[in-house]
Symmetry: C2
Subunit: 196 residues, 2 copies
DNA sequence: GGTGCCGTACCGACTGGCCGGTATGCCACG
DNA sequence: CGTGGCATACCGGCCAGTCGGTACGGCACC
């Protein structure tokens, strides 16, 4: 990204403030003051406050989607691919914890069309994920006695919830937690011996 | 609750609007119009808009806490008690889905003291829950190789996430989903044969 | 190499509208 | 006749977005 530093500074300030105070409680004035620029500068790079929020989403969505595609492209056993996907999404969600907080809290503050765009992008991710799970079910490694929607929700819920409880304690901690959550998820998914 | 119907109507309208538009995007005017009363009437029963939001939280928190205490008071095997607790909290969360949406989305809009009160109440619930898990670990039925905080987050995340994906499809469906999620959680919790 | 022109980046005072909250009064009922 | 239960008009603050203006770097043309 060779964007001007102004746009970057503003985005950074916005994320921090939105994450701690919420979108509605943060005035544009606060954002530009924290970023060390003026309102005029900000409105030169962003169409609206709404636009600023969307830019934050854009960045996360693109990043996670590209990671997903890359992992899937590498190929391999379903179980290994899914494990890699899960670990990755948890890890990057931890890296972008403030963004995630804003994401899940303020999505409904977006204008209608932009909200739909976000939904569209998330669905794309969701569908690829679901296809993996189905493949695992077809191959008989994952249980089929629980609706796929429930299984998937059971994982994405962990990702959502991270910002509600996770507080970083060291660097490798991030990966550890990602593996633990992934482990819990996959354990629940695997077909039991007793299954039909 | 033998509150006047005005207070009830207002609360109901507020929940619906907050859940669909968010707290900040909903004006007091909208609420009273939907409830079929006037601003004067509303401010006769509530101190502020903030107060209205808190009342919604109050109701949910009290309800779930009383359920929890009751189930624990009944006693029994840890695993059975925990299962009952989990099923109950998922079920009531589904019954109060709009309230839950508001709850998780708009908590940060409360005034500081009230926010702390909510945190306090939730911690009380959390601690009782954690004590159950620990008891299960001490008795050797639950795994101890994953931090208790992670195990617990893994369950509460499901409760939080319900409003993001669940859409009712019949009456018994509610209980079914509650049991499925509980099953997934407890399966992940149980000590494996291979464990130390 | 000066001169004029233009486009890009930025400034910051101002405004129009919205919205939470309040002041005051009315009316029914006991 | 006074008190609880409301209605209605109004106020003051805040805030997103605007708009007239400035600073400056490049670039063409003489």
């Amino acid at each position: 990204m060779k964007d001007t530093s102004v746009a970057d500074d503003v985005t950074r300030a916005a994320v921090e403030l939105f994450a701690t105070q919420g979108y509605a409680n943060t005035s544009v004035q606060q954002i530009v003051e924290r970023a060390g620029v003026t309102k005029g500068a900000m409105y030169h790079y962003f169409e609206s406050k709404d636009d600023l929020l969307f830019a934050i989403y854009e960045r996360m969505l693109s990043l996670q989607k590209s990671h997903l595609d890359e992992i899937i492209a590498r190929g391999g056993e379903v179980d290994e691919v899914l494990r890699a996907v899960c670990v990755d999404v948890v890890e990057t969600s931890i890296e972008f914890l403030p963004e995630g907080t804003v994401f899940f809290r303020s999505q409904h503050m977006l204008s209608r069309p932009r909200q739909q765009e976000v939904v569209r992008r998330r669905r794309a991710y969701h569908d690829e994920f679901a296809a993996l799970v189905q493949r695992g079910q077809d191959e008989g490694v994952y249980r089929s006695d629980i609706p796929r929607a429930v299984l998937i929700a059971n994982f994405f819920s962990d990702v959502h919830y991270l910002s509600h409880w996770y507080h970083p304690e060291g660097q490798e901690d991030k990966t550890l937690v990602a593996e633990q959550l992934t482990d819990l998820f996959l354990t629940g998914m695997r077909r039991r011996d007793a299954d039909a």
